[in-house]
Amino acid sequence: MEINKKAYEAYVKEVTPVHKRWPSIFRAFLVGGIICTLGQLCTSLFINGGFEKEVASAWTTLILIASSVILTGLNIYPKIVKFGGAGALVPITGFANSVVAPAVEFKSEGQIFGIGCKIFTIAGPVILYGILSSWILGVIAYVLMAFGIL
């Protein structure tokens, strides 16, 4: 039997949960804003403490990651993600969450194929394509420099 495509699409549209748009946007703004403000607070404290700007932001990264790992372990960060959507995924804390969450979930499968593999579920693609894209850009810059354009 040929499946009626239009009827099927209508059905899919009907059962797909419709998110109220404005509230989700507002919540993303709120949560993302708060996380970045905490990051700024952290950076400012380290700069006032006499650290270089680069070192201060490295500390900030580390503290945000550690906080996110703890909040994920306590099952609080998933709730923040549920509430804030992109507001909780876009900051570096979302990345840390995506590293620790599968590692915890699959620890019963062992050190190598459980934690070892699954810790890279999201981190793997992010690191791969981050390194690859910056490498490509580096090659382009290098070639442009060699021709004296840059």
Partner: protein, 118 residues
């Protein structure tokens, strides 16, 4: 003032991604890859660093900033070591973030127990 800028800029970046997610149903993993790649491109064309200098944590805490620092590392290493620097700078610049996430992630997996998804 730094805090207001961080809040508004960081919030707005998240709003843009939220709109993208609502319209495309892109999964978080794809979103994160996209942000890092776009961040390194914006860094390479010279847009992101001036923006980050102005917006502070509002621009460096989102993963776009991670991409930008990858590019910054590559660019700096090219200046120091030439061609081999292209292979070196990305990991140098992102070392704290990647090591931190992996090490704390591992420790977290040792300490915490899996929970049922609610």
């Amino acid at each position: 003032m730094d805090y207001v800028k961080a809040f508004v800029v960081g919030g707005l970046i998240c709003v843009v991604i939220q709109i993208l997610m609502d319209n495309t149903k892109l999964m978080p993993g794809r979103i994160m890859v996209l942000l890092v790649v776009v961040g390194s491109i914006l860094g390479a064309v010279g847009v992101y660093q001036p923006f980050a200098d102005w917006a502070g944590a509002g621009a460096t805490v989102p993963l776009l900033g991670f991409g930008n620092s990858l590019w910054k590392g590559v660019w700096k290493s090219i200046g120091e070591d030439g061609f081999i620097g292209i292979f070196k700078g990305g990991f140098t610049a992102s070392s704290v973030g990647i090591s931190g996430a992996l090490i704390f992630g591992y420790l977290g997996s040792v300490i915490f127990k899996p929970r049922m998804k609610s």
